[in-house]
């Protein structure tokens, strides 16, 4: 009964999506206010019905209703309650319900916070959102119905993949989807603007908070997944360039580029068609990621059961959404004119390079992920691209970006004074030099690690320089600086924080990949080993049972210079239903390094395989990411995003009929000829 209510609610939501995606669009075209106004109740109704469906599925999981096929395949009565909840999205069908639910939530948010949008734009944006929802609801109902029944009813379920029975992975998909789907709002705004043929600073201002929100969620989601891999897969790695990881990383790179280019579009009325393109591509890559993972064309640890029928559907949907929007773009974007002019050495120029680097980085990841597929299609040749490819290409594209991130914020709009910027970067130069000297003296290598940490120090120095500049620190009395800090816009705080977070994250990543100490040995109870200056003693080994698994638990005492600093309890679990082993590493962090202990299988000679790692700087990865997310959220709370954008009424431009006649044969402005020499 409950499952049928859920199924029915999904069908009603689909019906409302049809209304939401058609009538407001026609209304906006015909200037019919009543039809445009339908979008708001339609979006609310959709949210209500999808929430009902979601709640029904969750109920079926919590009460372990194994007559529902989806519950049978992914749950078990002995599973802890938390994972009964989170198991809802630990499978294909449930995760799609979560996806449309978040989409509806965003639709609601646009309707609720979009009070200051012009009615036609709002109607169009909501209609495009409705169209996306329509596609996903049809997909759900036609190929992935989560409410299918089983007869006869099985006695118990097949349980959730034990790797997913973990708090880190439980909340990884919702955050990630929150980010993916958030990009749909920027996409809808972009498509609506193309339909209207109008992109102005007000448009950019409306798009920015949505991109910021989705960027923050994506950052959080990706890092949560990485953190999970770090402690659950049990060998201290945190990023594997796995296709599924790449599928979430590409939209992140695009969202990052979009955030930066939207600033130029808002403040300088430039890069408009470029910003629109980024908004389209960002969401397109989210969809593409879904397609690649769900269709089973790329296999990896993370992917759920793959099904080619779903792949065909998603590909068709992708062609309609991405192909349609890009065609619209090719048709309308050439008429978008920008008024802002700038020199190569300027804030705009720096942001253009930022964008080019981010997009190139994204293209590199894209090629590395898809190259095997494409080559196979063209020549039938099979190749595999592993991390060596990404490490030798992507990293080098990002390095100049980090160098630039320190200088860009110090540059003036339109035309920057390079000697002045260089002078203001003194702190950054000093920080980088100090880091390099210190590292060569203390560590002596490898040189890639020293370079990486030097870049991180440079970026931190750049953030500090920018901050000092803004507060006129040391130049005006401290009390004045303090007053300046208080009135500093939150978006400025947000940017500084996010950039500082990036620097810390780089340092963490570089340290972790270069200075890890590992020690693997068979240990018996009472035995002691020394790793990286710590003494590890295996105090005891006990076998017991968890709610749905057998567990072997080791107790390790860790001493440094004869002093007890930690007691660690790594576990090895064997889940009953799927017969699968999982490793629960025990981690003790000192904030500068992690001590990481994982136990493996018993050795034939007695004793147990023990892996001990000393991972310098790894905590900084998580710390840096948290700071980045905080930066994004603080910037999101900036007053500018809450108040209306009055500039739109004043800057009424009609690019469809340019006020200034187009000047087709004006060879006076080829971009290259004016570069400063």
């Amino acid at each position: 009964m409950i499952a049928e209510i859920g199924h029915f609610a999904l069908i009603l939501a689909l019906a409302l999506a049809v209304v939401q995606s058609t009538l407001p669009l026609i209304g906006a075209w015909r200037n019919n206010a009543a039809w445009m106004a339908i979008s708001r109740p339609a979006v609310t109704g959709q949210f209500v019905f999808i929430s009902i469906a979601f709640a029904c599925l969750m109920y079926a999981y919590v009460v372990s209703d194994f007559s529902v096929a989806n519950v049978f395949e992914n749950s078990h009565s002995a599973k802890p309650l938390l994972y009964k909840f989170t198991g809802v999205w630990g499978n294909h069908e449930g995760s799609m319900v979560l996806w449309v639910w978040i989409l509806a939530l965003y639709g609601m948010a646009v309707a609720a916070f979009g009070g200051n949008l012009p009615p036609a734009l709002r109607a169009r944006v909501l209609a495009i959102q409705g169209l996306i929802g329509l596609g996903f609801l049809v997909f759900l109902l036609a190929t992935s119905n989560p409410f299918l029944r089983l007869d006869p009813v099985p006695l118990n379920g097949r349980d959730l993949n034990p790797l997913l029975q973990d708090p880190g992975l439980a909340f990884h998909p919702p955050l990630l989807y929150f980010g993916y789907v958030g990009l749909s709002v920027a996409f809808s705004f972009a498509v609506a603007a193309l339909i209207e043929g109008k992109v102005d600073p007000a448009w950019a201002r409306w798009v920015r908070p949505w991109s910021l929100l989705s960027w923050s969620a994506l950052t959080g989601g990706i890092v949560l997944g990485s953190w999970w891999a770090y402690y659950e897969l049990g060998w201290g790695g945190f990023w594997f360039w796995d296709p599924v990881e790449n599928a979430s990383f590409m939209p992140w790179l695009m969202a990052t580029a979009l955030l930066h280019s939207a600033i130029v579009a808002e403040k300088r009325d430039a890069l408009k068609s470029w910003t629109v393109l980024l908004a389209i591509l960002g969401f397109s890559l989210s969809l593409m990621g879904t397609f690649l993972v769900r269709s089973g064309m790329l296999t990896s640890v993370h992917s759920f059961a793959a099904d080619p029928a779903r792949g065909v559907f998603i590909l068709g949907f992708l062609v309609v959404v991405v192909g349609g929007s890009l065609t619209l773009y090719a048709w309308r974007a050439p008429s978008l004119r920008s008024s802002g002019r700038f020199r190569p050495v300027s804030r705009e120029g720096a942001l253009v390079i930022n964008n080019l680097l981010l997009v190139t980085g994204c293209a590199t990841v894209f090629i590395g992920t898809l190259y095997p597929l494409i080559l196979d299609a063209i020549s039938g040749e099979k190749v595999s691209v592993g991390p060596p490819f990404f490490e030798s290409s992507f990293v080098w594209i990002m390095a100049p970006l980090f160098l630039l991130a320190a200088a860009g914020p110090l540059m003036a709009w339109k035309r920057a004074d390079l000697p002045g910027v260089t002078q203001r970067l003194t702190i950054a130069f000093a920080a980088a030099a100090a880091a390099a000297i210190l590292l060569v003296a203390l560590k002596g290598g490898p040189w890639g690690a020293i370079l990486g940490l030097t870049i991180a120090a440079w970026l931190i120095g750049g953030v500090a320089a920018e901050f000092i500049e803004r507060l006129r620190l040391f130049r005006v009395p401290l009390i004045d600086s303090f007053r300046r800090a208080r009135v500093l816009p939150r978006s400025a705080w947000g940017m500084s924080l996010a950039h500082a977070g990036v620097a810390i994250l780089i340092a963490g990543g570089v340290g972790a990949t270069n200075w890890q100490t590992e020690s693997v040995q068979v240990m018996e109870v009472g035995e002691r080993v020394e790793v990286a200056g710590y003494d590890f003693t295996l105090a005891s080994l006990t076998d017991s049972q968890g709610p749905n698994y057998d567990v072997r638990r080791g107790e390790f005492t860790v001493d440094q210079d004869g002093e007890r600093i930690a007691t660690l309890h790594p576990e090895k679990r064997k889940y009953w239903v799927q017969g699968m082993d999982t490793t629960e590493a025990a981690i003790r962090t000192t904030w500068i390094a992690d001590i990481y202990v994982a136990i493996g299988d018993p050795a034939t000679s007695g004793g147990i395989a023990v892996r001990i790692y000393h991972n310098p700087l790894v905590p900084w990865i998580w710390f840096g990411a948290i700071i980045m997310v905080a930066g994004g959220l603080i910037s999101l709370s900036d007053r500018r995003h809450r108040v209306g954008a009055p500039s739109r009424a004043r800057r009424k431009s009609t690019p469809a009929q340019p006020t200034e006649p187009a000047q087709p044969a004006q060879p006076a402005q080829p971009a290259e000829s004016r570069s400063d020499t």
């Binding site: 790797l163 891999a229 897969l233 060998w235 594997f240 796995d242 296709p243 430039a270 393109l277 397109s284 269709s295 089973g296 064309m297 296999t299 990896s300 640890v301 992917s303 793959a306 590909l315 062609v319 991405v322 192909g323 890009l326 773009y329 090719a330 048709w331 050439p334 004119r337 920008s338 002019r341 700038f342 020199r343 190569p344 253009v352 898809l370 095997p372 597929l373 196979d376 299609a377 063209i378 040749e381 099979k382 595999s384 592993g386 060596p388 339109k414 799927q578 699968m580 493996g600 299988d601 395989a609 892996r611 187009a662 000047q663 087709p664 044969a665 971009a671 004016r674 570069s675 400063d676």
Partner: protein
């Protein structure tokens, strides 16, 4: 750098180039996507990835002779596999995250001593592979180091890890792409191996 006076120059990204050429640039964007979509559609419709490459199924294994990983006494040659009866060939690499996930299962299968597991160490630095095996244990009967990836190409290696089932006559009867889970083993590979009399 010299500063120019007068009107700010127009270095705007391609915003002011001649109209027809400009339009062409914009049309390239959906055109590129159309090509990509066509490739993806072709891939999707010409077979599911589990069947890649169907050409090799029921064929004899490709011929090769590979060096061992330093510190291991034997490499791996196709002749070893042909002589070994029903067996598994597992393609792995130390840089491959998913390989670590399936590793305990391989250790488990090896411990049961059901059949030989041949290792194809794909595009991996030998010293990395050696330390990987020392840490995690070595489930393999013999391992060949395919540093260049040539042998992997002949085997149609598409993504690591991959696991092949070889029958008593040295023919490939099954190919599994991606992580081999306990369920895959229990429901697909093990029944198949029992059928083959392994």
């Amino acid at each position: 750098m010299t500063q120019q006076n007068g009107d700010p120059p127009t270095d705007e990204m391609r915003e002011e180039t001649a109209a027809p050429r400009r339009r062409l640039v914009f049309i390239l964007v959906p055109a590129a996507f159309a090509v990509l979509a066509a490739v993806l559609a072709w891939q999707l419709l010409t077979g599911t990835p589990d069947k890649i490459p169907s050409a090799l199924i029921d064929k004899s294994i490709p011929q090769f002779d590979l060096q061992p990983i330093p510190g291991w006494d034997k490499g791996l040659a196709s002749a070893d596999i042909e002589r070994g009866g029903v067996s598994l060939v597992n393609v792995f690499a130390s840089w491959c995250g998913p390989c670590r996930v399936e590793h305990p299962l391989l250790m488990d299968i090896a411990a049961q001593d059901l059949l030989p597991i041949w290792g194809l160490n794909y595009k991996d630095q030998p010293k990395d592979a050696a330390s990987w095996l020392q840490q995690l244990g070595d489930p393999f009967t013999q391992i060949g180091s395919d540093l260049s990836g040539r042998v992997g190409i002949n085997w149609g290696v598409y993504g690591v890890p991959e696991t092949f089932v070889i029958d008593g006559q040295g023919r490939i009867v099954y190919k599994h792409i991606g992580v081999l889970t306990r369920r895959d083993w229990d429901e697909k590979l093990l029944p198949l191996i029992e059928n083959l009399g392994g």
